[in-house]
Amino acid sequence: MNGEVKKGYVRGLDIKNGRVDMSHGSGGRAMAQLIEELFASAFDNEYLRQGNDGALLPAAGGRLVMATDAHVVSPLFFPGGDIGCLSVHGTINDVAVMGAKPLYLAASFILEEGFPLVDLQRIVQSMAAAARDAGVPVVTGDTKVVEQGKADGVFITTTGVGVVMDGVDLTGANVRPGDVILISGSMGDHGMAIMSRRENLDFDVPIESDTAALHHLIAAMLESGADIRCLRDPTRGGLATTLNEIAKQSRVGLTINEEAIPVKPVVAAACEFLGLDPLYVANEGKLIAICAASDAERLLAVMRAHPLAGDAAIIGAAHVDPHHFVQMKTSFGGRRNVDWLAGEQLPRIC
C-alpha cells in the first residue's frame, strides 16, 4: 500500500465511544480503517489477507452447494447468542442440510448510521468465534452504511458454499411413505428466547436460544450409512412449517405424535403465557431428519451420541396422502391438522 502514513500519525478507531457514520460506507480511508481494525482483524484468514474484491479459492472437487440468508433479528443480543453468531450458524446449517461440507462464508453488513462501534465489535467478534469454532472461514465481505432510521442497527447477510460428497443426495422431494421423521432436540427455544425479551417476560431459568452449527452432527449422521432422504432446519415458522414444505415437495402425508416432541417445560410455559404454539416457533440449532424406516433406530442412536442432539427423538412417519396434509396425534388420542403458518404468529389473548 503506497502513501501509507506512518503508524504514529493514524488514530485508531474509537471503539469505546465511536459510532458508525456515513464515511464508514463511502469507500474511503474511514471505511478501510473500519474494515481493517474491526472486521479483518477478527475474521483473519489466508483468503481475506489476499485483500482483493473477491476471494480466490481452491478447486472444490465435487458438486457445489450455495446458500444465503439475511439476518434482521431484533433484539440484536439475546440470551444464548446474537445476530453475529446466528448469521454464521444459520448459513452453515443451510449448506450442511444439503449434505455438503461447508467450506467458506461471505458476510455483508448493512450498518445504520449512529450504531455504536462497541456493539458492532461485539457482534463481529461473536461471528469470528463462531466461524473459527465451526472451522468455516469468512473469506470475503462487504459493508454499507445507511442513514439513521433505515436499518435496525445492523442487518447481516451471509452466504455459504460447500461441497457434496459423491452419492449423497438429500432433498425434500425424496420422502416416501413409510419413512420415519426424527428431530434433533427440543422445539421452540430460539423463538421464545427472542419473543420473551420483546414481551418483557422474566424467567427462573432463562430461555436460551439454541443457535448452533450443525455440520459436525450432520457429518456423523451421514457417516452412519443410514439411508437419509432429507435434512432440514426448522427455522422461521417452526417444525410445523418445515414439515408442510416437505410434505408438499415429496407429495406425501406426514403424521407426528404430540407426545414424542420434546419441548422444554419453561418454553411450554412461555408459550402458554403468550398464547403461542411451540410447533410454529423458530429454532436455530435443530434439524429434522427423514430416513428409511429400517435405519431409524440406528440414526437415532448416532444423533443422541452427539452433544447437540442428546434429546433427539423419533416423532412420526410419512404415508400416502393425496392432499399432503401434516397431521398430529394429540396427547389425547385425537387427530388434528398441523397447517402452514398463516401470517406472522401473533401472541393470542383469546
Binding site: 420473551s196 418483557n200 417476560l201 422474566d202 424467567f203 427462573d204 431459568v205 417445560p265 419453561v266 411450554a268 410455559a269 412461555a270 402458554e272 403465557f273 398464547g275 393470542r348 389473548i349 383469546c350
Partner: protein, 84 residues
Amino acid sequence: MCLAIPARIEELTTPGNAIVNLGGVRKEISLALVDDAAIGEYVIVHVGYALQKVDEQEAIRTLEMFAEMGQLDELHAELNGTVS
C-alpha cells in the same frame, strides 16, 4: 378472547401488583380485581390482571370427577332398559 392462565403468586410488589410464576415464567401483574391474594396462592391471569383465585379443593374435586367410572349411571341405565 378469554385466554387466561393459572399462575402462582410469588411476590407482592407495589400496592396492588404481584409477580406471578407459571412453570418458571414470571411476570408482574395487577391484583386490583382480587381481594386478599397471598403469596403461594394461584390466580387466573388475563391481559395482565388477576381475575380470581383458584380454589385448590375444588380443583382436586374436579380431577376426581374426571376419574369417576360412571358405574352408577351404567347400573341406572341397565335397570331402565336404556342402552349402556
